[in-house]
Amino acid sequence: MRFEEIRVGSVLVAKVLDGRIAADVAPRFKSKLAEYMVDGNRSIVIDLGSVSFIDSSGLGALVSSLKSMGKDGDLVISSAQGTVATMFKLTRMDKVFRMYDNCDAAVAALS
């Protein structure tokens, strides 16, 4: 999987560059998110603006990371659109994650 990582103050913005987060890459996605937390990041924006598809195992990886983060920090989602936004809604995950329309709004909320 390919990511673009930008640090804005104390916030890590991780933009997923792959167009799909599905079962073939979900384990790698999950371990990448775990790595961010091991590295000490406590404010993470996952930017899904370049992702056109996520399946239930991709969502599962995000949920797993949200649980690991727990009350120690924030893991939020930005720029979900199209099928990705539909998937969050179908699964009610849009109620579980803090979702922001764009990356700037997400960073502002965590800063």
Binding site: A22, D24, D55, T83, L90, R92
Partner: protein, 159 residues
């Protein structure tokens, strides 16, 4: 009625082609993006399940996706010849599961898996699962919203 059939190898890296096909056909039929998305999601979840659960991720097996449609409905049939779906999960397809009944604030209870079948149940209008002669078939039908007949825009007279 039109019909396509695609067969892919039991390799999770090959599932993208199901998206490509389903999305392309839905767009060609003029479906709106919400309908297209939900059909794409169901197709991918179903094929992924065949590879993960019917074949336990073993390579070299085959999953078939058949796509049939008329003006008012689209049917997806996903077939494998692996281990059949256990009864308790077949029941999810008919009576539903409570996997999305969570309290969003109760983090520990948010599901990390077990979502696929319930997504399919909620997004599709008719679902059945059968095993005949070693072939498992998951049948999913979506009733389509009325679309503008293409003729309406056709051939404006020169002004």
């Amino acid at each position: 009625m039109s019909r396509f059939r695609i067969s892919i190898e039991s390799d999770l890296a090959a599932v993208f082609v199901v998206s490509v096909l389903v999305r392309g056909v839905c767009e060609h039929l003029g479906m709106d993006s919400a309908e297209t998305s939900s059909i794409e999601i169901c197709a991918v979840e179903a094929v992924t399940n065949s590879i993960k659960h019917a074949y336990d991720c073993a390579h070299g097996r085959e999953v078939c996706v058949e796509l049939l449609y008329t003006q008012d409905r689209l049917r997806l049939v996903v077939q494998d010849d692996g281990v059949s779906m256990p009864d308790q999960h077949r029941r999810t397809l008919t009576t539903g599961s409570n996997v999305f009944g969570f309290d969003p604030a109760d983090l520990d209870r948010i599901p990390e898996c077990g979502m696929g079948l319930e997504i399919i149940r909620q997004a599709m209008d008719e679902i059945s699962y059968s095993t005949i002669g070693g072939t498992n078939s998951l049948n999913m039908t979506k009733f389509l919203r009325k679309r503008e007949p293409q003729g309406i825009l056709a051939c404006n007279a020169p002004s």
